[in-house]
C-alpha cells in the first residue's frame, strides 16, 4: 500500500483521478489540495464521489510527505514549484503540459515562454505507456499526455510502426472535442447558451499538441502532422480523423496486420473496424469513463485515400487514466489496476 496525494484535485482531471484511485487496492489517497475549496469534502465538488470518501481538500501549503504525488494543476503551475513537490514525494506524475516536451526550445516555441525549470524536462518520461512503457517502469517522474495528442498519436502509430506511413506527406488530424477539455473554470465560450449545440471551429492551425505528436513519432521520422480542433456537443470525448494517402492497392488484411502487430498485446488500445452494424468505427461516446482508446481506419484501395480514426475520453485515456496507468508501471503494480471499467451503453 502506498500513500498518494493529488495537488489540484478540484478540477475535472483531479476528480477523475480521485474516482479511479479510490478503487485502487494498492494505494491510499491521503491528501488532496484545492486552493478554492479548502476544508470542503471532495464529494462537495465531485458529487460522483459521495459515499466513496470523506477526504477534505487542503491548501498546498499543508501538503505532507507521501509516496507519490499527482499534479493536476493548470498548465504552467507545476514547473514553478517542482523542486518543492519533489522534496515531498519520490515519485511524481504531472498531468499538465509542463513536462511533456523534452526540448526546452520546443517548449518555448510551443507555449510562448521559456520553461521555468528546464533542467527537469529530461527527468520526466512521457506518460503514454503504449510508447514509453519500459522507461516508465524505472521512472520517478512521468508527464501527463495531451488528450488530442494522444488521440492523434494512437491513430497513426500502427502504420508508422509498420513502416507503411513514411514522413513524406503533410498529415492533417481533424479532431472533434467535448467541453470538458476546456477545464472546470467557466468562461464566455463555455456559457451554456453559447456552447450548447455547437460545432465550433476552435483551433484549426498551430495547436499546442502538435509538438507532442511530433516528439512521440520522432524516432520514426520528422512527421509534418497538423491538428485542426473543433468543439462539438460532447462533454467527454475526443474523435480524431487523420487524413492522408497510402499506396493504392492495399487490402484490409494489410491494414489489419499492422494494427494487430501494434495493438494486440496492449490492454487499452482496441482496433475497431467492423464490416457491418452500427458501431463500425471508434466512437467517443462509448468510451466515456474508460481508459480505452479505440483506433480504426477507412481506406479506398482505388485511390489510396485513407482516414485513420481514433476515439477516447479526454479525461480518461487522455488524462487521468493514462496517469494512473503510469503510476501502476512506476510502482510495479499490475498495469491495468483500477482501469478496467468498460463503459456503458446506450
Amino acid at each position: 500500500m502506498i500513500r498518494v496525494g493529488i495537488v489540484g484535485a478540484s478540477g475535472y482531471t483531479g476528480g477523475e483521478l480521485l474516482r479511479l484511485l479510490l478503487t485502487h487496492p494498492e494505494i491510499e489517497v491521503v491528501q488532496a489540495t484545492s486552493e478554492s475549496y479548502i476544508g470542503k469534502f471532495a464529494f462537495q465538488v465531485h458529487p460522483q464521489l459521495r459515499g466513496q470518501t470523506q477526504l477534505r481538500f487542503i491548501g498546498r501549503d499543508a501538503l505532507q510527505s507521501c509516496d507519490l504525488l499527482f499534479l493536476a494543476l493548470p498548465h504552467g503551475e507545476a514547473q514553478k514549484y517542482i523542486d518543492r513537490y519533489a522534496a515531498l514525494a519520490p515519485k511524481i506524475v504531472d498531468l499538465s503540459a509542463d513536462f511533456r516536451l523534452r526540448d526546452p526550445a520546443a517548449y518555448a516555441s510551443t507555449y510562448g515562454h521559456e520553461h521555468l525549470a528546464p533542467e527537469w524536462l529530461e527527468r520526466f518520461v512521457y506518460g503514454l505507456p503504449e510508447l514509453t512503457r519500459n522507461s516508465l517502469r524505472s521512472a520517478n517522474y512521468a508527464s501527463g499526455v495531451g488528450c488530442n495528442a494522444t488521440a492523434t498519436t494512437l491513430a497513426v502509430y500502427a502504420l508508422v510502426k509498420a513502416g507503411m506511413l513514411p514522413p513524406t506527406q503533410p498529415i492533417i488530424a481533424d479532431i472533434k472535442v467535448g467541453s470538458s477539455e476546456a477545464g472546470s473554470t467557466p468562461t464566455d465560450s463555455s456559457h451554456h447558451p453559447a456552447r450548447s449545440g455547437i460545432v465550433r471551429p476552435f483551433q484549426l492551425t498551430g495547436h499546442r499538441h502538435e509538438a507532442e505528436v511530433r516528439q512521440s513519432l520522432a524516432a520514426a521520422g520528422a512527421y509534418d502532422i497538423r491538428l485542426s480542433v473543433t468543439s462539438v456537443e460532447l462533454v467527454r470525448g475526443v474523435s480524431a480523423a487523420i487524413h492522408l494517402s497510402l499506396p493504392i492497392g492495399l487490402s484490409d488484411k494489410d491494414l489489419w496486420s499492422a494494427y494487430r502487430a501494434a495493438w494486440n498485446t496492449e490492454p487499452f488500445v482496441r482496433p475497431v473496424h467492423e464490416k457491418s452494424g452500427l458501431h463500425r468505427h471508434p466512437e467517443p461516446r462509448l468510451l466515456a469513463g474508460t481508459n480505452y482508446a479505440d483506433v480504426g481506419w477507412e481506406y479506398d484501395p482505388a485511390t489510396g485515400r485513407t482516414v485513420l480514426l481514433s476515439a477516447l475520453d479526454n479525461l480518461g485515456k487522455g488524462a487521468a487514466g493514462s496517469a494512473v496507468q503510469c503510476m501502476n508501471l512506476m510502482c510495479g503494480f499490475e498495469e491495468t489496476t483500477a482501469l478496467t471499467f468498460g463503459g456503458f451503453y446506450p
Partner: protein
C-alpha cells in the same frame, strides 16, 4: 487455424460446427460461412439477395 478471408483473423471453429453454419469474425464482424468441414474452408457468407424469400 482457419483465417477470416476479409481481415486475416484466426477463427476458432466450435467442435460441433456444421457445414454451412454461419459465424461472425471476432475482429471485423464479417459473417462467415463454413463451406466445408473437411478440408475446413471458410468464405464470406452470401449477403441477402434481392429475390430471397420471394
Amino acid at each position: 487455424m482457419p483465417e477470416c478471408p476479409e481481415c486475416g483473423a484466426a477463427i476458432t471453429i466450435p467442435a460441433n460446427a456444421m457445414q454451412h453454419e454461419l459465424l461472425p469474425c471476432p475482429d471485423c464482424g464479417t459473417e462467415l460461412e463454413i463451406i466445408s468441414l473437411n478440408p475446413l474452408t471458410l468464405d464470406r457468407a452470401p449477403e441477402v439477395q434481392e429475390d430471397w424469400g420471394e
